[in-house]
C-alpha cells in the first residue's frame, strides 16, 4: 500500500465528482429536495400558540403579568392549578411557571426566573413562544427595574420526546442516499471504467487492486459523510431536527457504504453493459427504498411486506440511524449496526474477490 497512489486516486475521484452536476444532484440536491418537500407536507401547520400558565405566586404582580400576556392576541393563555403535573401538560402545549417568590423578588430587587416547559419535538412553535416570553421578560425588567435584569427565564424540556414525521424521515433519506450513491458509484467505476479501457490501463500500472479498492472506499465514505452532513444541516436549520451524530451512527454509515459498494461490485461483475448495469441497480435500489421503510413506517404496510423489509439491508440502515441519531436507543442501534456490519463484511468480501481487472 502506497499512500501516494491512494491519495492520487482519491483526489482524482473527488475532482471528478464535484465537477459532475448529475452526481452532485443525486448525492446532495435530491435528498435535500425530498426533505424540504415531504417534510413540509407531512409536518402540517402550527396550532395556535397556547400556553398553559402555572401561577405559583398568585400575587398582584403575577396577575398583572398574566393580564399583560392575555393582551397579546396570538397567545392563548390557559391557567392550570398549582398542583398540576407540568410534564403532562407540556406534552400538549408549552407551560409557563411563575415562581412563588415572583412579587417579592421584584420588590426586593432579587433575581428570579420564570420557567418555560417545552416539548422538544415542537421546535417551530417553541421558537415562537420563546420569543414572546423573552419579549415579556424584557418588558418587566424595563418597567420595574430600569432595565437591570432581575427577572430571567429558563427553559425546561419535558423528558419524553415526541417524534415527528421529519425525525423519522431524515434518517431514511440518509440511508437511501448512501445506498444509491454507493451502488451507482460502484457500478460506474467498475462497468464504465471497464468499458473505457480504464481498468486495463490501471492493470498495466504499478497501482495494486487493493490500493485502488481502498481508495474508492475512502472516496465513497467521504461522499456518504458529505451527503449525511448536508441532509442533517438542512434538517436542523429548516425543521429544527434534534439529531445526534454519535459513534453508532458513524459506524452504521461506514458499514452501509461498504455493504452497498459491495452490492454494486457484485452487479458490475455480472453485467458488462452500462445501461444494463444501471437498470440492475434501479431494480435493486427502488424496491428496497420503498420496502425498507424509508418514507413511511413499516407498521402501515401489510404484514407480509413487513417481513420482506426485514431481509433488506436498507431496513437495518434506516432503523439503525433512527435509533442512533433520533431515538437515542443505543442498544437497538448497536444491534442494527452489527447486522449491517456483518452483511457488509460478507458482501464487500465477495465484491473484492469478484472484482477482476483482467480481460478474458
Amino acid at each position: 500500500m502506497r499512500a501516494k497512489a491512494i491519495i492520487g486516486d482519491i483526489k482524482a475521484s473527488v475532482k471528478n465528482w464535484y465537477r459532475n452536476k448529475a452526481a452532485l444532484f443525486w448525492t446532495l440536491a435530491f435528498p435535500i429536495l425530498l426533505i424540504l418537500l415531504f417534510g413540509e407536507i407531512f409536518s402540517g401547520g402550527n396550532e395556535s400558540y397556547t400556553i398553559y400558565i402555572k401561577d405559583m405566586d398568585d400575587s398582584t404582580l403575577s396577575h398583572a403579568l398574566i393580564n399583560a400576556m392575555n393582551n397579546i392576541s396570538i397567545i392563548n393563555l390557559q391557567p392550570i392549578g398549582k398542583n398540576a403535573d407540568v410534564k403532562e401538560y407540556a406534552k400538549k402545549h408549552a407551560v409557563l411557571e411563575i415562581p412563588h417568590d415572583f412579587q417579592n423578588a421584584i420588590f426586593e430587587g432579587k433575581r428570579c426566573n420564570l420557567t418555560l416547559y417545552l416539548d422538544p419535538s415542537k421546535e417551530q412553535t417553541n421558537s415562537a413562544i420563546r420569543s414572546f416570553i423573552s419579549g415579556i421578560v424584557n418588558e418587566i425588567n424595563l418597567r420595574f427595574n430600569n432595565a437591570s435584569i432581575i427577572v430571567g427565564y429558563e427553559e425546561k424540556y419535558v423528558v419524553e420526546e415526541q417524534f415527528k414525521y421529519i425525525d423519522f424521515f431524515i434518517p431514511g433519506i440518509i440511508g437511501m442516499t448512501i445506498m444509491t450513491s454507493a451502488i451507482y458509484g460502484s457500478i460506474e467505476i467498475n462497468v464504465k471504467y471497464r468499458k473505457r479501457g480504464m481498468l486495463k490501463k490501471l492493470l498495466t500500472t504499478p497501482l495494486q487492486k487493493g490500493e485502488w479498492i481502498l481508495s474508492k472506499m475512502i472516496y465513497q465514505l467521504m461522499i456518504s459523510f458529505i451527503s449525511t452532513i448536508a441532509i442533517i444541516a438542512v434538517g436542523i436549520t429548516v425543521f429544527h431536527l434534534k439529531a445526534s451524530f454519535n459513534f453508532t451512527s458513524i459506524l452504521i454509515i461506514i458499514a452501509a457504504s461498504f455493504a452497498f459498494t459491495g452490492i454494486g461490485m457484485i452487479i458490475a461483475r455480472f453485467v458488462n453493459e452500462e445501461e444494463t448495469a444501471d437498470s440492475a441497480a434501479s431494480a435493486i435500489t427502488f424496491p428496497m427504498m420503498f420496502l425498507a421503510g424509508t418514507f413511511f413506517p413499516l407498521e402501515i404496510m401489510p404484514s407480509f411486506l413487513q417481513i420482506v423489509a426485514k431481509i433488506l439491508p436498507l431496513y437495518y440502515v434506516n432503523e439503525g440511524l433512527r435509533n442512533a441519531m433520533i431515538y437515542h436507543d443505543g442498544n437497538a442501534a448497536m444491534l442494527n449496526a452489527v447486522v449491517i456490519a456483518t452483511f457488509a463484511i460478507i458482501v464487500f468480501g465477495i465484491g473484492v474477490v469478484l472484482t477482476n481487472w483482467k480481460e478474458e
Binding site: 486495463k200 498495466t204 500500472t205 481487472w357 480481460e359
Partner: protein
C-alpha cells in the same frame, strides 16, 4: 538485445483462434509494428504481452521476465482508451504519475504531445485527436523504456494523425522501444523500423518495411505523361529515373509530368493474402 520475446503464442476464444502460434522478438530501441486488418488478432496479442489477458498457450518475456515485474518500465495506451471525464489534461497526467516511482516533467510531456494550449481543459471537452494525444502522454508519464500503443490514430482526421505521428517519432530519438499496432499501412511505413504483418491470427511476414516491399511488392513504375499519350515502365532501382529523364532530354521528347508509383505495404499485404488491408 530483445525487449520482448514471444514464443508459440496462441489464444483461443471458443472456436475462434484469435492468435495462432506466433513467435517474434522486439529489439531494444526499435519501433515495432504489428500491422493487420480488424480482427487479425493484434489487440489480443498486445494485451497478452501487457499482462491484461491470459494466453491459451505460449511463452512471453518482457525485459527477460514477467511483465508484472516490469510495470514501472512500461507505458501502455490501450485500444479505445478513455480517461476520466472531468479531469483536466494536467490533472490526468498528475493522476497517473502518482502510481509510479519515476515521473516525467508534466509540462514537458504536455508540450511534447502538443497539448500546451489545452492543459487546463477537461478531458471530456477535448477533440478525438487531443484525447488520443493525451493517451499517448499518459503512456509516457513514467518515462518508460517500452511503450505499447494499440491503434493510436484510429478514427483521427489526417491532420491529427500527422501530429501524433510526429510525437511518436520523437520517442525513437529518445531511444525508447515502441510496440505499435495499426491497420494503417502508411502509419507502419512512416513509423516502424520493423513490421510484422498479421492475418487471421498468424504473422505472415516480418521485416523492415522497405525489405518487405522489395521482397513482396511489385516493381516501382515510372509513368511519363506526354501531351497526347503516356508511357509506363517498370524499374528495379530508383536511380534509373535519372537515366530515363536524360534520355527524354536527348531525344527532345516533350512531356507534361512524370509519375513515380512505388509499391507500398498495402501491395505486400494484397500479394500475401489476396485481400485488401481495410
Amino acid at each position: 538485445m530483445n525487449v520482448i520475446e514471444v514464443r508459440g503464442l496462441t489464444k483461443v476464444y471458443g472456436n475462434v483462434v484469435a492468435v495462432d502460434n506466433i513467435s517474434f522478438d522486439v529489439r531494444k530501441g526499435e519501433v515495432f509494428s504489428l500491422l493487420g486488418p480488424n480482427g487479425a488478432g493484434k489487440t489480443t496479442t498486445v494485451e497478452i504481452i501487457e499482462g491484461i489477458r491470459k494466453p491459451t498457450k505460449g511463452e512471453i518475456k518482457v525485459f527477460g521476465g514477467k511483465v508484472e515485474r516490469a510495470k514501472e518500465k512500461i507505458g501502455v495506451l490501450p485500444q479505445e482508451f478513455q480517461s476520466m471525464e472531468r479531469l483536466t489534461v494536467r490533472e490526468t497526467l498528475e493522476y497517473f504519475s502518482s502510481f509510479y516511482k519515476k515521473s516525467m516533467d508534466i509540462e514537458e510531456l504536455i508540450e511534447m504531445v502538443g497539448l500546451t494550449e489545452k492543459k487546463n481543459t477537461l478531458y471530456k471537452n477535448l477533440s478525438g485527436g487531443q484525447k488520443r494525444a493525451l493517451g499517448v502522454a499518459i503512456a509516457l508519464v513514467n518515462d518508460p523504456s517500452l511503450i505499447f500503443l494499440d491503434e493510436p490514430t484510429t478514427g483521427l482526421d489526417p491532420a491529427a494523425r500527422r501530429n501524433l505521428w510526429k510525437a511518436i517519432r520523437k520517442l525513437k530519438e529518445g531511444r525508447k522501444t515502441v510496440f505499435l499496432t495499426t491497420h494503417y499501412m502508411e502509419e507502419a511505413e512512416y513509423l516502424a523500423d520493423r513490421v510484422a504483418i498479421m492475418h487471421h491470427g498468424k504473422i505472415i511476414a516480418i521485416d523492415e518495411p522497405y525489405k518487405l516491399i522489395e521482397k513482396y511488392g511489385e516493381k516501382t513504375r515510372v509513368i511519363i505523361k506526354k501531351i497526347d499519350s503516356e508511357e509506363e515502365m517498370e524499374i528495379n532501382d530508383e536511380r534509373e529515373i535519372a537515366k530515363i529523364i536524360e534520355k527524354l532530354k536527348e531525344k527532345g521528347i516533350k512531356y507534361e509530368r512524370i509519375e513515380i508509383k512505388r509499391p507500398t505495404l498495402e501491395d505486400v499485404f494484397l500479394k500475401l493474402t489476396g485481400e485488401g488491408l481495410t
